[in-house]
Symmetry: C2
Subunit: 303 residues, 2 copies
């Protein structure tokens, strides 16, 4: 099926669902939005390019070819459990939740006439609500597609059309691999950002001037702590085993770091700092901030 | 003494010292740069607005009215111990190290004819080397000035002129308060960023695809891990008691978080996430991303 011929229903009009409606504007036959929140529906009735907006899931899935689930992960799993029972069966289902194991398990239990693919766009920001949506939120991002027992070639092809329409790049992977990785690269950074805010808030209650010393380094490191609470709560619970493993490893490293610092083990600390600095630099543009780059661009007037 | 009449020597031509030379260009009578690194001196002989560059400290402090120490904190303390002995005595000394206790103690032991103030500009970035310098690095930043036993009104006034010339704002504080705060808002974020890189590097050694999932959230949270190693090593050692205290508190919080997650204590986790999210949002522009702001700006076409 071609995306431009599809009736698409987007369930969950937050930052992600809202940005999907903006990015898919004109790319499908008809677009329906579903959200239980009055504020989200008010946005949807305004700037959003939706043909219809409703709070009623069954109504929203009527005559639906492709249902895109963009609610918190726990709600995605709940809705999947109702499809073909309390809810009508869309022909195709794609989700955009940030963890995939529990979603894929729920997709595996869908009626056999529903063709479903798990998805996760690696784009976003720390705001929430559709009023912070951006049509280009997923541009140039990786978009993980995860096969399920209900994934047919046609379902995968339609999902790929959605990814392409968003300007993102398809990354085929497996639920378990995906979830183990994002525990490290998404949920752990979030928990560390929250821990830093927890420490600072506690100290600042007795010493409000503390906030004056919170410069750009502190702001960057804590940015994720402003993420949507229902979204992150569901993600942490859905990916609990992997998040716990990541936290245990981090606790062990931080304990060792604290011990080495107590013993003024300068050699160990320097080795750690150097190795991880190098790794971090190679994640972005390794040449930009090096002397070599400076020299290679012939910027040395005295040279 | 007026800054524009002063012979200024800047000791340490890294990112901070280099940016100081650019920002103080034309603001003082004469400017001399001192660095042991050949690469830094090569930069200083080129784009830097310096009247003289040397690797010899004694030569660099000859006829110096104001010496600004911009080396790693451990070296600042060493140099302060040599002033008036192996090294000539400048009339005024200001440092720009990120921790103040050990520096102020060393300033207290200076000869009585040397007038010294501790300083710390709350600006910077995670690059290092003078080739990454920016004249505007300290613009609109707070600049902590910390009195010592050698601080005279004239020394404080000259330091304030430097701060003003940089476009920064004076913040008078005490060494102990300063160091307790920056342990939380500078060193703790740095250590957490390094811990995150340590975890990711370890995992990626067996699963290189992990890096594909490192999106903007991971990059922001780990940005500080790219900071200069000699600078951060010295800072951690100089501020060891406060950093250790901050790490112990963080470990306790992370352990509790991990336990609550194991027990699926959703109420506790939600409360933590909500409280710290709100605190983080209020650090920047609290209205920008809220529905209230959206509505107040009359952006709702359907309203």
């Amino acid at each position: 099926m071609r995306l431009e011929d599809a009736n698409v229903s987007i369930v969950g009009l937050g930052l992600i669902g809202g940005s999907l409606t903006l990015a898919l504007d004109g790319r499908c036959r008809r677009m329906v939005g579903v959200d239980v929140s009055h504020e989200a529906r008010r946005w949807a009735a305004g700037p959003a390019p939706l043909d219809k907006v409703t709070s009623d899931l069954a109504e929203g899935l009527q005559d639906c070819d492709l249902c895109i689930l963009a609610t918190p992960v726990g709600v995605i799993v709940d809705i999947l459990g109702q499809i073909g029972k309390e809810l009508p069966s869309p022909r195709f289902v794609l989700d955009v939740g940030s963890t995939k194991n529990t979603v894929v398990q729920a997709m595996n239990r869908l009626p056999e006439n529903v063709h479903a693919v798990g998805g996760h766009p690696f784009g976003g920001k720390e705001t929430s609500g559709p009023w912070t949506s951006e049509a280009g939120l997923f541009g140039d991002c990786l978009f993980a597609l995860v096969p399920t027992d209900r994934t047919t070639p046609e379902a995968l092809e339609l999902a790929e059309q959605v990814v392409t329409a968003l300007g993102a790049k398809v990354w085929l992977t497996h639920a378990e691999d995906h979830d183990r990785r994002v525990a490290l690269t998404s949920q752990l950074p979030f928990v560390l950002a929250v821990s830093l805010m927890a420490m600072a808030k506690e100290r600042a209650s007795a010493d409000p001037e503390l906030w004056d010393t919170a410069a750009s380094g502190f702001l960057d490191t804590t940015r994720l702590a402003a993420s949507s609470v229902p979204m992150m709560r569901d993600i942490l619970l859905a990916n609990r085993p992997h998040v716990q493993a990541a936290l245990h490893e981090t606790l062990a490293w931080l304990e060792q770091f604290t011990d080495r610092l107590s013993n003024e083990d300068i050699a160990w600390i320097s080795t750690q700092l150097s190795g991880h600095r190098q790794a971090r630099q190679s994640l972005t543009t390794p040449m930009v901030n090096t002397q070599a780059a400076y020299e290679s661009h012939d910027l040395w007037p005295g040279a």
